[in-house]
């Protein structure tokens, strides 16, 4: 098979946000330099997102700001949530405008509740949050959630918690008989499970890349 010459891959990185303030270019220059001088090697060519919310577009243009930031040996990667004038200038300069999390509605905490049994062959997805199933989940059924998964009936199917990579997600089963459990891509088959958890109320969480089981009512 021929290798594709172009591949798109999803990845996430942490970027520093540089919040700029000041009324004139000189003020900006002064403040930037005083910051960079404290740790020149750390800041050298550091990729940053520009937060321009404290700047007045009528005083300073984006191209002026950009050249000043670059002069301070920083690498601007984009502009965070720019106001309309800066957005237009960013578009002309082909500089990406990044939407910050502050303005998007909270992605987590949306809960999907299923009251009906989830039958063999059915798939249920708890998008952007937890999935709660009040009934049984049959063998061959699949539960997927971006957050945690809670099952109050017998859990005989498969469950994938933290499907978009949330390794803090957990799985709670009132009656654990699951074929397969996974959190953030780390999975575990029924065969590998300690038989003492079979049919018991159990919590599963991810710890050092392994799924750890614990009884929910250990004192009974």
């Amino acid at each position: 098979m021929q290798r594709p010459s172009v591949e798109f891959k999803g990845a996430s990185f942490t970027l520093s946000v540089l919040k700029l303030s000041g009324h004139t270019l000189d003020q900006l220059k002064q403040q930037l330099n005083s910051h960079v001088e404290r740790a020149p090697r750390l800041f050298h060519q550091m990729p940053v997102l520009l937060d321009l919310s404290a700047l007045d577009p009528s005083n300073l243009s984006l191209s002026q700001v950009l050249s000043q930031v670059q002069a301070s040996q920083l690498t601007p990667m984009g502009v965070l949530d720019p106001a309309a004038p800066y957005r237009q200038q960013a578009e002309q300069l082909a500089l990406p405008c990044i939407r910050g999390h502050r303005h998007t509605p909270s992605r987590h905490g949306r809960t999907t509740v299923i009251e009906q049994p989830v039958r063999s062959g059915q798939q249920v997805y708890g998008k952007d949050g937890d999935l709660v199933v009040m009934a049984g989940v049959s063998a061959g059924a699949e539960l997927v959630a971006d957050g945690s998964i809670h099952v109050y009936g017998p859990m005989r199917g498969r469950a994938f918690a933290g499907a978009t990579g949330n390794s803090d997600a957990r799985i709670f089963c009132h009656d654990l008989q699951a074929e397969l459990l996974a959190i953030a891509g780390t999975y575990h088959l029924a065969e590998e499970r300690d038989p003492k958890f079979w049919g018991k109320p159990t919590m599963i969480r991810l710890e050092q890349n392994r799924l750890c089981h614990s009884l929910l009512r250990p004192f009974e």
């Binding site: 009906q116 039958r119 063999s120 062959g121 049959s138 061959g140 005989r156």
Partner: protein, 269 residues
């Protein structure tokens, strides 16, 4: 107000056609005008079990395609006045059925019949979907065996998500569990799933339990629904099932092995 009941299972060979024939006959014998439709296009069997295979002229597909009218295709049962059979086509395949075609046939049947039984083909493909799509109630036929139970579970999922009632957000299809070919001695020996095992996994109400019984094979080969064999355990169990379907309460029989007394053993039971 007529009721459409699908007899379905997912897995093949678990007793759908036997059940369709017996329940249709039982409902008709109780005085309800009933029609039973064979949805197993290409593998026409219901007419054999009902003993009317020599009287098939037109079939379900002919009616769907407008090549015959409904009354030409309906076969009147010779034993019960209230019972009619709409046979499947043996020469076509299941793709010959369309939602619109099936709906128009069912709409016509609704004007004449109290109960419309749909004998589903095995599988979860087009034919089985057509049989369950318009159902008001479903009799999910299962054997006490893991693969049969798993497939029934799959069909229950389809009833909840792919039926007309599900798609339109109406009251869901009423589901009944019918456990067939039950052998209490094999359950006791641990070879067979118990009634409790099956009801626990499928979690729907039980409408009947049919014991494994030689009378079923004999009845099928003879073209007589087994419910008419009133002395056989299977026939009696189907009669109980029909009574429950009509709202009567009947105790569950044939759940445990009948102990034969020494007198019975001596003189033959």
């Amino acid at each position: 107000m007529s009721k459409i009941i699908v007899v379905t299972s997912g897995k093949g060979g678990v007793g759908k056609t036997t059940t369709s024939a017996s329940i249709a006959t039982g409902l008709a014998k109780s005085g309800h005008k009933t029609v039973v439709i064979d949805f197993d296009i290409g593998l026409r069997n219901l007419d054999l079990v009902m003993g009317c295979e020599r009287r098939v002229v037109y079939d379900f597909v002919n009616v769907v395609n407008g090549e015959a009218n409904l009354n030409q295709a309906l076969i009147k049962d010779k034993r019960c006045d209230n019972l009619y059979i709409l046979p499947a086509s043996q020469t076509r395949d299941k793709d010959a059925l369309t939602i619109e075609g099936v709906q128009s046939v069912l709409d016509q049947l609704k004007t004449q019949f109290e109960f419309i039984l749909c004998d589903s083909p095995a599988g979860i493909e087009h034919g089985a979907m057509m049989a369950l799509y318009f159902a008001d109630e479903a009799i999910v036929t299962t054997n006490p065996e893991v693969s049969s139970v798993r497939d029934s579970d799959r069909i229950l999922g389809m009833l909840q998500s792919r039926s007309l009632r599900a798609e339109q957000g109406l009251e869901p299809v009423k589901e009944h569990l019918l456990l067939c070919r039950y052998v209490p001695s094999r359950v006791d020996a641990g070879d067979m799933l118990s009634l409790e095992d099956v009801t626990e996994i499928l979690a729907i109400p039980l409408i009947g339990l049919i014991p494994e019984c030689g009378s079923v094979l004999k009845a099928s080969n003879g073209g007589t629904p087994v419910i008419l064999d009133e002395t056989s355990p299977a026939g009696q169990a189907y009669a109980d099932t029909v009574a429950r379907l009509l709202g009567e309460e009947r105790p569950l029989r044939f759940v445990s092995e009948e102990r034969k007394g020494w007198l019975k053993k001596l003189f033959g039971g």
